[in-house]
């Protein structure tokens, strides 16, 4: 594989430099450092966790984006996701449902969630694998006695981002052993399965070819530490499962549903490939 080619050494890069084109960084991630609001340092590069056999260093997707896109995440006043986060903060304090409760009436300040996202997904007491959307909807239906939110709806993903923001800068560390092990293995098997008529696995692009261009896209390692992420292409916060669904659909496959057990397992596995990077939501991507 041409995996180990150093950034900056490809012929394409040389041509881009010579012609002065604002081309994406061919060949690998750039060397930029991410410090948000001048005070929160984000780990965008770390030694790969022990369970990863084929990658030695993990990188946030932020390192693969253009300077213009990167800049939008460096200051919360420029981050277009923050409008949605503000809306979620308002929803957090709003009483809804037959029980007369708001999020705040049980949880107090949203800052009480600091650290939670760094360890999600995880296995709950009932033995099921649980992601943040599950926790939110369980609170809504059981404690607030109101309607569940749609998985990738703006209200749901804004709340997932708000809760994640409380852990921003903390290091991702999801458990993959013990009760999580079978779910993790299921997700790993999916990661290496070549789905669809194009017969492509997650690994084909994001393990074997990260750093390379596929048509106009600069392939990243497919990390999810920045999700929900504000995708400029769609002009809204995008859920992890929505991105999984789109990727598998684009292999010309019958994809899986958002909120499916398959995607919960894949979420755990992909999150574990980012153990060591910072929680970065709400990130901004192209």
């Amino acid at each position: 594989m041409n995996r180990m080619s150093a950034p900056g050494l490809s012929a394409a890069t040389a041509i881009a430099v010579v012609t002065g084109l604002a081309a994406p960084a061919f060949g690998g991630p750039d060397d930029d450092e991410l410090i948000i609001n001048g005070d929160t340092t984000i780990i965008t590069e770390a030694p790969a966790p022990d369970h990863m056999e084929y990658i030695s260093t993990i990188y946030s997707g932020w390192r693969f984006r253009t300077d213009e896109t990167q800049a939008l995440e460096e200051d919360d006043f420029d981050n277009p996701a923050m409008l949605a986060v503000d809306a979620a903060l308002e929803a957090f304090d709003t009483v809804e449902g037959d029980a007369g409760e708001s999020c705040a009436s049980c949880h107090g300040d949203v800052e009480s969630f600091a650290g939670l996202t760094a360890h999600m997904p995880k296995v709950g007491e009932d033995g099921n694998l649980v992601v943040m959307e599950d926790l939110i909807n369980e609170c809504r239906t059981d404690r607030m006695q109101t309607e569940a939110w749609k998985w990738s709806g703006d209200d749901m993903q804004s709340m997932v981002a708000l809760i994640g923001l409380q852990s921003r800068g903390m290091t991702m560390d999801v458990a993959i052993d013990g009760p999580a092990a079978p779910f993790w293995q299921q997700g790993k098997d999916m990661y290496y399965t070549r789905y669809g008529q194009l017969e492509l696995s997650c690994a084909n692009c994001h393990e074997d070819n990260w750093g390379n261009m596929i048509r106009a896209d600069h392939l990243s390692q497919g990390q999810i530490n920045g999700f929900p992420t504000y995708r400029l292409k769609q002009a809204k916060l995008i859920s992890k499962h929505n991105r999984f669904r789109g990727c598998i659909r684009d292999t010309r496959a019958e994809t899986f549903a958002e909120g499916s057990d398959e995607f919960r397992a894949l979420e755990l596995y992909v999150a574990s490939r980012g153990n060591g990077l910072s929680v970065e939501t709400p990130a901004v991507r192209q």
Partner: protein
């Protein structure tokens, strides 16, 4: 009128080449990954092959760089550069690679363009949904021939 003309033209082609029609993908004979016989019985059109390199289910330059197509933007870096492909490969080998590269290179990431079964969760194009019936191959027999004809123009020596 148009329909009648097309039927007549089809008759001429069949009579002229005694070609029984394109084989089913499963019937294509590979020898060491190469396919000697034309899939369509009609010579490939390199100009149409050039178009397929850039669009639709072909989109070869999503992964491969080709200097002869440098008028088209955004060539990928996934597969090998194709300049001089006709110097390195025979027509039969190129046909085999385009039809189903995994016969010659079992681990290849390259999609198999003349294949229509044996998939895991195949979908109806990019709908994300299961297809109603059998899938067609990604490219037709003639489109494979057109791409091969274009690739045969990529000579450096």
């Amino acid at each position: 009128m148009k329909r009648t003309w097309m039927l007549a033209a089809a008759g001429v082609v069949v009579a002229g080449s005694a070609f029984a029609g394109p084989p089913e993908p499963s019937e294509v004979v590979f020898e060491d990954g190469a396919v000697s016989n034309s899939l369509s019985g009609v010579p490939g059109d390199p100009e149409n092959g050039r178009q397929i390199m850039n669009k639709g289910a072909g989109n070869c330059i999503a992964c491969h760089e080709v200097t002869a197509l440098s008028d088209l933007p955004f060539h990928g870096e996934i597969g090998p550069m194709l300049d001089g492909a006709a110097d390195r490969w025979t027509e039969a080998e190129l046909r085999g690679i385009v039809a189903n590269a995994k016969i010659m290179f079992p681990e290849s990431m390259m999609p198999s363009f003349y294949k229509n079964d044996g998939y895991i969760r195949p979908g109806d194009a990019y709908s994300g949904k299961a297809p109603d019936g059998l899938l067609g191959p990604l490219l037709t027999a003639q489109e494979i021939e057109d791409v091969v004809a274009f690739l045969m123009t990529l000579k450096e020596e």
